[in-house]
């Protein structure tokens, strides 16, 4: 794992290669996206909504952000590759839809960390501070999205290939003052897990629906979407399992490890990771619905105790950092 400390205390740099970015043009661009996204869109200019894409049986297909910049809509998805995603979208395109989807030909570079806002303002200008969480703006020819999933400040920049060298030059110029460090996917995944953000790419998640995974906030009941009927039926039948976050000591926990209570199997670990901040293992597990609450003392199959807790499991530094009062240079003044 590389860059965890930078994400939690300074600024981490990530070249995002795991997301598909598509640009939607035309009068029905939002209608197409609204037909496939379970979340209510009704996007205002400069707004991003966090959604999810589902298979027809309700299982999660992709994590999705939908954005509006001017008249253009964007879809940023993680999970499937580009070809699979485009085929899925084409198969669910509304009849007579006057819209086209295009590859967003830009490099995606992300900054994460409690002082990401400060480095970002050096690189694209101070107007970045006016971009709210789940907001998108265009600054200096670069599209800036505020969509961090680490519990810290997070920005993704879509940089046109023609200006990529200049953008990277500015990062190289200003980055050292922020101890900027490249971060790998494992560090970001660990931060996401610690903050209760779902990683849809993990094998254990692919068989689950948003109901078990506590993602119903991404679903609308007021419109149809792929998977809606399946989830309606599942909700009516009653949930057998629901996700919980577990903390345990000791070595890494295997995906699929059994979760027990009083010696009886009551669930399984979907995925887990070692937290450098806590020096403990953090896991997302599915357990029997009546037990799916914090403060339950489970055991793992190897006999280790594992207690359920409410995520986030760490106290993010970013919630104590005020861009109008603090700076990385005076970071010792930030209380926590």
């Amino acid at each position: 794992m590389q860059g965890y400390h930078a994400i939690r205390h300074a600024v981490g740099l990530q070249r995002q290669t795991d997301r598909v970015a598509l640009r939607f043009e035309g009068p029905d661009a939002e209608a197409w996206l609204d037909a496939v996204c379970p979340a209510e869109l009704n996007l205002q200019r400069g707004q991003i909504k966090h959604s999810v894409l589902l298979h027809d049986d309700g299982r999660i297909f992709a994590d999705a952000y939908v954005a509006r910049l001017g008249r253009t809509r964007y879809l940023f998805a993680r999970g499937p590759d580009r070809e699979t995603l485009c085929a899925w979208l084409d198969a669910r395109r509304p009849a007579d839809c006057d819209a086209t989807a295009h590859d967003e030909a830009a490099a995606a570079i992300a900054l994460h960390g409690p002082f990401a806002w400060e480095l970002a303002s050096e690189v694209v200008g101070p107007d970045i501070l006016g971009v709210p969480y789940l907001g998108i703006g265009e600054l200096g020819g670069v599209r800036c999205l505020r969509i961090g999933e680490t519990g810290e400040y997070g920005y993704t920049f879509l940089v046109p290939r023609a200006t990529l060298a200049d953008f990277e030059g500015r990062l190289a110029e200003h980055g050292p003052a922020f101890d900027l460090e490249a971060v790998d996917d494992a560090a970001l995944a660990q931060c996401a897990l610690e903050n209760g953000f779902l990683d849809v790419r993990r094998a254990g998640v692919t068989g689950c629906t948003p109901l078990e995974l506590q993602q119903q906030w991404r679903l609308s009941r007021r419109k149809p979407w792929p998977g809606a009927d399946a989830l309606k039926a599942r909700r009516a039948a009653g949930l057998a399992e629901r996700s919980v976050t577990l903390l345990a000591d000791g070595p890494p926990i295997a995906d699929g490890a059994e979760v027990l209570l009083d010696g009886k199997s009551v669930g399984r670990v979907l995925y887990s990771g070692a937290s450098p901040a806590l020096a403990r293992q953090v896991a997302l597990a599915l357990v029997e619905r009546p037990l799916a609450h914090p403060t339950v003392d489970f055991t793992l199959a190897d006999g280790r105790p594992a207690r359920s807790v409410s995520p986030p499991v760490i106290d993010n530094r970013s919630i104590y950092v005020d861009p109008y009062r603090h700076s990385y240079a005076s970071r010792a003044e930030v209380g926590a």
Binding site: H50, Y133, L134, G196, Q214, Q215, Q216, W217, L219, R221, R235, R242, S243, T245, L261, D262, P290, L291, H293, P294, T295, V296, S310, P311, P312, D315, I319, Y320, G335, A336
Partner: protein, 96 residues
């Protein structure tokens, strides 16, 4: 599941239901109670609450649950998810 755990989880479930009902009422949330999962984030993503809603939550905690926050830091921790608020209320009840 032993009786003590069963009783504790039943109490937690009841408090969770009460809290969600009060949130829907006081924050005018366009959601059914069974759509609000306990680990749902409250602000920005998740329920999408804002700073005005945060004030409503503080009033709700004090009026409906007799809980007054001890400073800004406690609020920042407790008001991150529905379960965080339940934890706070239960901690205060146990301490009383």
């Amino acid at each position: 599941m032993n009786d003590a755990l069963r009783a504790r989880l039943a109490a937690r479930e009841a408090l969770l239901e009460q809290l969600v009902e009060v949130m829907i009422r006081d924050l005018d949330l366009d959601r059914e109670p069974d759509e609000i999962d306990p680990d749902t984030p409250l602000f920005a993503t998740g329920l999408g609450l804002d700073s005005v809603d945060a004030v409503e939550l503080l009033v709700m905690l004090e009026v409906d649950f007799g809980v007054k926050l001890d400073g800004e830091a406690e609020g920042r921790r407790a008001l991150r998810t529905v379960n965080g608020m339940v934890d706070l209320i239960l901690d205060r009840q146990e301490a009383a």
